[in-house]
Amino acid sequence: MAEEKKQFRVIGTRPIRHDGTDKVTGYARYGADIHLSGMLYGKVLRSPHAHAVIKRIDTSKAEALPGVMAVITGRDLPEVADRLEELGEQVTNIRDESHNVLATGKVLYHGHAVAAVAAVSPHVAEEALKLIEVEYEVLEPVLDVLEAMKPDAPLLNPNLRTRGIGEEDGKPSNIAQHFQNKHGDVEKGFAEADYVVEREFRTTMVHQGYIEPQNATAYVRPDGSVTIWCSTQGAFAVRSQVAQLCKIPVSKIKVVPMEIGGGFGGKTVVYLEPLAVLLSKKTGRPVKMWMNRAEVLQATGPTSGSVIRVKMGCKKDGTLTAAQATLIYEAGAFPGSPVGAGAGVIFAPYRLPNVQIDGYDVLVNKPKTGAYRAPGGTNAAFAAESVVDELARLCGMDPLEFRLKNGVKEGDRRADGPRLPRVGYLETVRAAMESDHYKTPLEPSPDPTKRRGRGVASGFWFNGGGPSSVLVKVNEDGTVDLIEGSTDIGGTRASCAMIVAEVLGLPAEDVHPHVVDTDSIGYTSVTGGSSVTHKTGWASYLAAQEVREEVIRRAALLWSVEPAEVEYHDDGTLTCKSDPSKKTTFKEIAAQMNRTGGPIEGKGTINAGGAGPGFGTHIVDVEVDIETGKVDILRYTAVQDVGRAIHPAYVEGQIEGGVAQGAGWALTEEYYYDEKGHLLNSSLLDYRMPTALDLPLIETILVEVPNPNHPLGVRGVGETPIVPPAGAIANAIYDAVGIRLTRLPMKPSYVLEELIKAGLTS
């Protein structure tokens, strides 16, 4: 159903983004910009322990401090049902979420919220926190998944039993889930192999690192209706979660999504919103809350650390015969790691006759993990792509040749079941082989203390869809407003506006996109799963089509002809087939619309399926300082099948951003806990995300294999690019120094340790 039209007027061009001026001039309004009269400030008291029973909380001294207006604890939250809530790439259990926003009974990680205060100033609120007395009985924490799986491990939740595949004994456990994806016979497959490689990989918890901390302002009016201003990837998801957590009907809540300073999956679950609502309800005044960086790192939703075992086998000619993996992911304090997605990603690029994947979701005393850009994918691909690299070397094959030989195409079956629709994986491998980067030999370093190497890796992401709503209304001056519910974190105002402009034959600047609150547009699922240009772009397409049809009817009316006589041209002009003298334009129809039948509007609502899976192949050159273990990235090229690049610059931006985050995950980012479970590096000084000086210019190559299930061929593009970097960098390090690294991050102390072991430095 993809439009076969090759010539687009707007799609594929690079207009200035519609929200650009506001962002560069500082006019764009973020959650921190909310100021209401009578507003109070809320702060959260957090657990200093990773695992403890709350014996007693005494808030009386805090309440007595002048300026304090309300204090709440877990007891102020209503009992809520054990119910699952869809959040795009993540499902959350509302009861767990209630226990996460304010602990009741037990604290399960360092930073777990135990009480919240509203006061006349943020400073008074902070001082009040010091006056809240909490008596804890400290319990032994469990921080490592393998420890947590042992039968005698301390239990986070003594009522939790494994949801499994029949082998479980019904005893309480930290293993929330065990699943298995399987087809063929791996034993047989390994027996047929000439080479078998088996390795164990370990990765640590990492954070999305969005620059804007979580924030929320809530006002509960005397009639019980609630307004929430916040930084979120999904206003309707906030509405639904707050409704359930605070037991307020959805229709009484209006969520106003403010401009968002990054989310990467981390801003779908609520943390502060319900607290601000409860504090506002108690005080009758608006309450504003925001986290500092330490709170963001300690107590929002980073992604899982993991232990991953991979075994793969191939014949001498490189044909893969079998692959097996065990993925054990940290869920954090409550069930729900992205291990399922990791299992879907791990072998996705490869055609495998025999495959078996076991996944475990394991509780540990760390924050409840949340979605992070291609959740669970980067660590999984790191493991598999390292093993693939090793197999290619054993076969004496070029690693891209090896991938070409074994790569998936339409009709191949994924390890987790479904058959692939039309995908562009092989096209990315070929484009990588043809790239200037791959064709340019890597020069050795002139410095004897530096070794250079090149690595490649591939990656996959499912991409998503979901419900979305769009309104397009025509203005008398011939421009249109595009009203949408998708918060814009990746340039989607621009991509959706360009789709409308394309359909109506307008310049992109004549479409004004507006992201509005939950009262002003129909339900729209979260900005996640690389879904917005797919689903909201599709809804925009439908809404614009409706406007187009109506414009045709108006022209027919003016000319007293049948609508079928009217031809709507790509440049926004209209002509009459039977009478060439009759000509008009979209602008002229717009100017007359109130005299020809009234305002013109179009709507598009959809529950978009048919998301096109994304594949990418990356090439990286690194330089290893063998005296210090530092790894520098010299050159990076990311090739990706992007379906159709609506706005190529923002597609490239997504790819560059994904690579930057993947490189941080690969080399320097990690959650660093002491043995008692205290997070020691909860600042951006010591949680080391790469800076501009740590990354080279990232080259991108866009391959366009249109998604046949989207009217414009769109595939999600935002997540695939974070999947290959860790594997590609590890493979490049191997190429440079001949050492197979199996832990993330590949930080200098770890690399140095291995260089010393290998006798490369002393």
């Binding site: 902070e126 320097t668 660093y672 020691l680 590096n681 080391r688 000086l693 740590d694 200098p748 102390s749």
Partner: protein, 289 residues
């Protein structure tokens, strides 16, 4: 955070008086790039900031080839590297002040604050040690001087007594055929804190090293002067083996810990690597000097 009083002192005596009156909870405020962060993060309780940025003596930045450099405690980094004569005479100090934080931080941060904050990882302290800096301190009992290498006594601890403040640091004029170099190791290329650092100063006599001084950062409770390296190098010919040996002596002197920024083994290893590299850098500069 509680309300904090702020006073802009105009004279050294006024500052000393305010510090004495304020006691434990009065702190000197220079650039504030350590102090304000610490207070906001509840790591330090302060009732009074005594701002020293308007005292003439702490703003001195005076250099002449005969008397050396007088570097006021409140002079921000950008003024130091922005002064061509100073930059030419003390490039090893410039290595550090151009490295601290970022351009924004360098607009505020002072070398005096770096020293008085007494972080073992402070970047400007090792070069100040190897350039033979001397701290001029003023307090209720008047003035006294302390060599930079003796100024820090532990993490966050200095020789400053109640009511005392650092006024300036004085450096002797550059010697002929001598120069210094400072470098640090960080996992990131900027906005990071030293896992280890090394400053080396060498004076050459033809193909030989006449004298040398080496100081390390982030490998002991304080920035660490390592006289053994200088003693070993004095009179030695410049060879790879001599430089390697000097690195080993630095490594032997390092007494690091393991923390989130690096492991003890890594820091010991880096002490040798960085000392070798700093020595080579200093020798090259000395040859050009």
């Amino acid at each position: 955070m509680k309300p904090i009083d702020y006073v802009r002192a105009r004279t050294l005596d006024e500052a000393v008086l305010l510090l004495r009156q304020g006691g434990e909870r009065a702190r000197v405020l220079a650039g504030g790039t350590d102090l304000i962060v610490q207070v906001r993060e509840n790591r330090r309780d302060v009732d009074l900031f005594v701002d020293i940025k308007n005292i003439p003596e702490t703003n001195r930045l005076e250099y002449d080839p005969e008397h050396g450099l007088t570097l006021g405690a409140a002079v921000p980094c950008y003024r130091i590297y922005g002064n061509p004569a100073v930059a030419k005479a003390y490039p090893g100090l410039i290595d550090a002040v151009a490295m601290i934080g970022s351009v924004q931080i360098q607009g505020r941060a002072t070398v005096g604050g770096n020293l008085c904050n007494a972080s073992p990882a402070a970047d400007s302290i090792p070069p100040m040690i190897v350039y033979r800096g001397v701290c001029h301190i003023y307090g209720p009992q008047g003035s006294r001087v302390v060599p930079v290498e003796e100024f820090c006594t532990g993490p966050g601890q200095t020789v400053l007594g109640p009511g005392e403040l650092l006024v300036w640091i004085h450096f002797p004029p550059p010697e002929r055929h001598a120069q210094a170099h400072y470098l640090r190791f960080t996992p990131r290329n900027e906005m990071d804190i030293a896992v280890a650092g090394s400053a080396a100063y060498v004076r050459l006599n033809g193909e030989r090293i006449a004298s040398a001084r080496v100081a390390l950062s982030a490998v002991a409770p304080t920035p660490l002067f390592v006289p053994e390296v200088g003693e070993y190098l004095a009179g030695k010919e410049i060879t790879d083996e001599v430089i390697r040996q000097a690195g080993e002596l630095a490594k032997a002197a390092a007494r690091p810990i393991t923390d989130m920024r690096g492991t003890a083994e890594q820091r010991k290893h880096l002490s040798a690597v960085l000392t070798r590299r700093a020595l080579r850098g200093a020798i090259q500069r000395a040859q050009e000097a």
